[in-house]
């Protein structure tokens, strides 16, 4: 898989398929094959949802100035989708299965507000007199 902005990305999918067991399954290997298949499916569901989330929160934003809030957004997205708690580190772990985040170049857009210098000012509402 090629990453964005020229960064290269390592796919770890093949590795995972060989193992046949997700990182999130309990230690005990289930005796019935259908049960482990079920676990694989939900893992796949999570991964799919994550990829869906990446359409809203592009990977490259995970390297820029907004990375913490973007990660928070991804976490919230998954939490909402599966109605169970997710943690940011869990999300990063999931991402790590597909992408090598360190290789991504941050995309510091020119038109971003933080790249321009302007004097601080309070909005007019701060100076409004109280309504009678």
């Amino acid at each position: 898989m090629k990453g964005l902005n020229g960064g290269t990305v390592r796919a770890k999918e093949e590795e995972e398929q060989e193992e046949g067991m997700s990182a999130h399954s309990p230690c005990k290997k289930s005796p019935s094959s259908s049960s482990s298949l079920h676990k694989e499916q939900s893992q796949v569901e999570v991964e799919l949802k994550l990829l869906e989330a990446l359409e809203i929160y592009p990977l490259v934003k995970l390297r820029g100035i907004h990375r913490h809030f973007v990660l928070f957004g991804l976490t919230e997205y998954l939490q909402r989708s599966f109605n169970r708690p997710f943690s940011p580190s869990e999300v990063l772990q999931l991402l790590d299965r597909f992408y090598n985040l360190e290789m991504l170049q941050p995309d510091d857009e020119d038109n971003e507000i933080l790249n321009q210098e302007e004097e601080f000012s309070l909005p007019p509402s701060f100076f409004a007199k109280d309504e009678p």
Partner: protein, 370 residues
């Protein structure tokens, strides 16, 4: 020849525009200093300047059929080939320039906006503005009366001087107006043809809604007063620093097995990240720049030097900063109470975290020179 006009100082940015002949060929070495929105200058314009000066900007403005890019400034050449010709200055009361950030009044409400185009009509200037955070279809032409300079110093003066109503019902896109909240608007996801005014409670494009508590608002006003009117500065470095405060909040707020512990940590890290970048970009008053240069030499992060006074300013700008992150509305709504909680923590500790007085630069100077 020099033409001095009374309002020359109101043009904030100048450029060099190449002079062209009517047939389109550019003259070799002649450029003229003009305001930025001028696309090109004809030789004939210069020759007849004395007569044309009042019509000058009527002719220029934005010409759609021009061979050059519309509205773009054709900047001059490098130093050595510039001949200092005529310096043209604004011939009329043109207060705002293309690209300038302003406050714009739409149906009596003030919004942050950006001037996209300037034109001269009937001896007065009119400005095409884009409301920041709103879709392009709200862009409109406004007169000078409907605009205000964006920097604070001007805002106060303008409000005092003009015969505008004293109450400025500011509703920055996204801010709640206590008296009217439309449930429909709150749930909306950015579609919808409802009119601008009704929707001014929630912006069409997602912006975080932060209600700063009244005592902290007063703190910001005092802060403004100290720095911009009394010419004072915050004594640096501060204790506690922004970094300290965020850490204190985390310790106070999060219990050991709190599920959302990591999420809160992520938000706090995000705020620290924003603070370090935003401080020099948009959290300083002009008079604080020099001090900033001095204390942050050698790449010292602002969050380890500045304190609550400047952290509070971040919250004023946070909706705009976050807007660039393009966070979903649902997530923003989750984020809002967490930010508010942090503000309440600041409010609770207001007397210990905030300075009650600032220093004059002379008082600070001898210490800084050590």
């Amino acid at each position: 020849m020099r033409y001095f006009k009374k309002n020359a100082q109101q043009v904030s940015r100048w450029q060099r525009t190449r002079v062209t002949h009517q047939n389109g060929t550019e003259s070799q070495n002649l450029t003229i200093k003009t305001p930025p929105f001028v696309s090109f200058v004809f030789v004939s314009d210069i020759l007849n300047l004395e007569h044309k000066i009042n019509n000058y900007f009527v002719q220029q403005g934005v010409r759609k059929e021009s061979p050059m890019e519309m509205g773009r400034s054709s900047t001059g050449v490098s130093g050595d080939s510039v001949a200092d010709g005529v310096d043209l200055m604004a011939c009329d009361e043109r207060l705002y320039v293309q690209g300038e950030k302003v406050w714009a009044s739409h149906k009596g409400e003030w919004y942050p906006a950006k001037v996209q185009k300037v034109e001269s009509r009937m001896e007065a200037f009119t400005y095409f503005v884009h409301y920041l955070g709103w879709k392009k279809r709200w862009d409109e032409w406004l007169d000078t009366k409907k605009l205000m300079k964006f920097t604070e110093a001007d805002v106060q003066k303008q409000l005092a001087q003009s015969d505008r109503p004293a109450v400025v019902k500011n509703i920055k896109p996204g801010q709640k107006n206590k008296t009217k909240i439309s449930a429909a608007a709150r749930g909306k996801k950015g579609k919808g043809g409802s009119n601008f005014k009704e929707n001014c409670l929630i912006t069409e494009e997602n912006m975080l809604n932060i209600e700063i508590p009244p005592t902290l608002k007063k703190q910001l006003l005092d802060d403004c007063e100290f720095v911009t009117h009394l010419g004072k500065l915050v004594k640096l470095p501060r204790t506690p620093t922004v970094d300290d405060i965020l850490k204190k909040y985390f310790v106070a707020r999060v219990r050991k097995n709190d599920e959302s512990k990591e999420a809160i940590q992520e938000i706090l890290s995000g705020l620290r990240c924003y603070f370090d970048k935003a401080l020099p970009a948009m959290l300083l008053y002009k008079s604080e720049r020099k001090q900033y240069e001095e204390v942050t030499a050698e790449d010292i992060p602002p969050s380890t030097v500045y304190g609550a006074e400047h952290l509070l300013r971040l919250f004023v700008k946070l909706p705009e900063i976050l807007y660039d992150a393009k966070i979903e509305e649902e997530t923003l709504m989750k984020l809002q109470p967490k930010i508010l909680d942090l503000l309440k923590f600041l409010q609770k500790n207001q007397s210990t975290y905030f300075l009650s007085t600032y220093q004059s630069p002379e008082e600070l100077d001898p210490e800084m020179q050590e």
